[in-house]
Symmetry: C2
Subunit: 431 residues, 2 copies
């Protein structure tokens, strides 16, 4: 009896302790304030913020993050790729780090949430652990990735596949990646040294806004990302014959814009004709000579196809190509589809990590949905070298990459709480 | 008998004289050389010529024309709208002038023929009359119109409807019409003084290249223009919602470019669905934000409809508007069609002048076809104030407004001969 009573007491202690720990939560007001403070870096007269990677605002925000990490007692440095790295020591020297983070750079005319939520939540998580004097067995590593929006530069470097071809690419600041890395305090001559081996990180977690409207529409608090879709880009050129719009009869035209219009309609029809969540988009178009009274002789458009399966991307593309051939013939216009070197393979998130996220959310009483990510993320590259998981929170109206982008403080705190508790459960359950 | 013999002799003399006069022809080699000489004004390193209105090349060519007119003994001046005017006196002081001419300015990246053929042929006609010491009863007036390509500026001024709104319009030289008029030697403060009353010109004739492929395809030497089509322009704005192309499902999009593409296809279908020679064109398109990975939220296109009948233009437009409404509804995209202030009413060429051209061509043994002009011309405005006719010659491949534009020396000489002989017959037959 005594033994069993002791056992019951002991068990009760353990469950209470787990229960308390699972309920550890971040400071919502402080997280929200930190998001607003970050939005000051690059703020314009019109109240909107511009903070493209490599800009002065990006560099200032990077230094502001570093000062906070140092204040918390983290070993902090900028790696050769311009990533900010902060290490909080663990109690077990044999353990590999549990890493987490996101990015603070933004697209031109972007919003205040995007990668900022995951970055500021990562700092908040570390602060809560400090305040609650919680030691983890694993070292905890915060990574604020450099230049996510301009080609997931920092995470590609860590995953060991930032090719030399990428370095001359110039973003809207006017700096190339090479110049930007130097500005951020990296070193292009030593960039390959930042690449991690496959067993160097115990797990990687990224919290991010959904950038779509699914969670909001279905009134769900947490998205558990199953995978990040792959994408392929093409440049499509339509060559007809420019001629006088007044003197060329309708049946004698080689109208490149008419052919392009038929192609755009076909891309939409074909992509929607297959079962699944694949998307196909024409976002860019240029018609030459581009005068109201001249039949366009040349049009160039973009084509993008995304899906979790490479096979589906290929299937949609082949069907679009078939339609393009029919349109070319019917319109007496040449159509050429040229693949661009920007293809990203789909990245599947680690099933066990998905389950840990689900369990943490459930213990916090939050509703969840497993879903693909239509957007690319740093987690996509980290998945190549570490067990990886992603946590989504709702985006108001599904809007992203826009000053209208918004996630509520409650949703941000929910996401940060799931991140915090998933880190703690991974610390327990991982080797 | 004697009387009747005399009458016969006299009649025979008259017919012979008419016959000889009808066969009077221009100097083909000299006309061709003058076309090549004119092409030197604005010639570039690549061998192509740039001579947009108001450019240094345009001003130099204007002075070159003036020196030729003065050499021929014409009373020559630049009017307040920058038109070059040369008068060859007639024998009957009571007669109003027979006017003819065209323009020497060119579109950017244009060709050597366009208005140049009619302008150089007009000089050649005057030279032949001088060499053959032929006096006309009517004064002959050559007009080289200013800035035809940038809005038929000079002819609108002469027709009395160059509005003040047009003066600030800037062309590719960077000069506004107001500045251009001053550069050409005109005077914007006195521009209304160049307007002619309806009975001041006995007749106006313009020789021009067809700018279409009908004459060449049907192997016809001379086109007799029945009328110049009217045209109306609209700006069409498509307002959807810009969003992430990766995270927005196909069925949740408000894709402004997809709606614009359906609209472009509809413009083509609707315009071709009516009997007739009407044309409808979308030549200009801009999609925003214009990135391959963003669904376009806003697209602006042009819309142009041309026909000889205003009713047909209206009918086609109404049918396009109906389709636009359906597309807007189905695509969840707003479509707004805004009329632009560039509408030109159709201009019917004077039937009696058409007959004179037909008769002159026939006496020269040339094949003819009556046809509309799909392009606008100075003759369109001159038709508002004078009995007007237009003579077309074939354009190789129907190409115009392009460095590939070409008309053969034989065709140019045929056109100049018809111009010459129509002037002479009008001089006989008109009051």
């Amino acid at each position: 009896m005594i033994n069993s009573k002791r056992l019951l007491l002991a068990f009760s202690f353990i469950t209470t302790s787990i229960f308390l720990q699972a309920q550890l939560t971040v400071n919502q007001a402080r997280l929200e304030k930190r998001i607003m403070d970050l939005a000051q870096f690059g703020i314009q007269e019109n109240g909107q913020t511009e903070r493209v990677a490599f800009s002065d605002a990006d560099l200032a925000a990077q230094q502001w993050v570093i000062s906070q990490l140092k204040e918390m007692g983290l070993e902090t440095h900028i790696d050769f790729a311009g990533n900010v790295i902060g290490i909080r020591k663990g109690t077990d020297p044999s353990k590999k780090p549990i890493s987490f983070g996101s990015h603070i750079d933004r697209v031109p005319n972007g919003g205040n949430y995007d990668g900022c939520v995951g970055s500021m939540a990562a700092i908040e998580v570390l602060m809560i652990l400090n305040e609650n004097k919680i030691q983890t067995k694993h070292p905890l590593e915060i990574i604020i990735f450099s230049n996510e929006e301009g080609g997931v530069m920092g995470s590609r470097a860590i995953a060991g596949h930032l090719g030399k071809k990428a370095l001359p690419i110039v973003n809207s600041t006017g700096y190339s990646m090479a110049e930007g890395i130097m500005r951020l305090g990296g070193d292009t001559t030593r960039i390959t040294e930042v690449a991690r081996k496959k067993d160097e990180i115990a797990a990687f977690l990224e919290l991010h806004i959904e950038q779509g409207g699914t969670l909001e529409k279905e009134d769900i608090q947490i998205g558990i990302v199953e995978g990040i879709v792959g994408l392929a880009w093409w440049e499509v050129e339509f060559t007809g014959f420019a001629n006088h719009a007044g003197t060329t009869p309708m049946n004698a035209r080689q109208d490149a814009l008419l052919a392009a219009a038929k192609f755009i309609v076909a891309v939409n029809e074909v992509t929607s004709s297959f079962e699944g969540a694949q998307v196909g988009t024409v976002g860019k178009i240029k018609a030459e000579p581009g005068a109201p009274n001249v039949i366009p002789g040349k049009v160039v458009t973009s084509l993008e196809i995304r899906d979790l399966s490479l096979e589906m991307i290929e299937k949609v593309y082949e069907a679009i190509k078939t339609r393009a051939k029919e349109i070319a013939k019917a319109s007496n216009v040449q159509i050429e589809l040229r693949p661009l070197d920007t293809t990203a393979d789909p990245a599947i998130m680690t099933a066990a990590i998905q389950d840990e996220i689900a369990s943490s959310a459930s213990q916090l009483g939050l509703t969840t949905k497993r879903m693909p990510s239509g957007a690319g993320h740093d987690a996509q590259d980290m998945a190549l070298i570490a067990p990886t998981g992603m946590i989504f929170i709702p985006s108001k109206g599904g809007i992203s990459h826009s000053p209208k982008e918004f996630s509520s403080a409650t949703d941000m705190a929910n996401g940060a709480n799931v991140l915090l508790n998933t880190i703690l459960s991974l610390d327990k359950n991982l080797d």
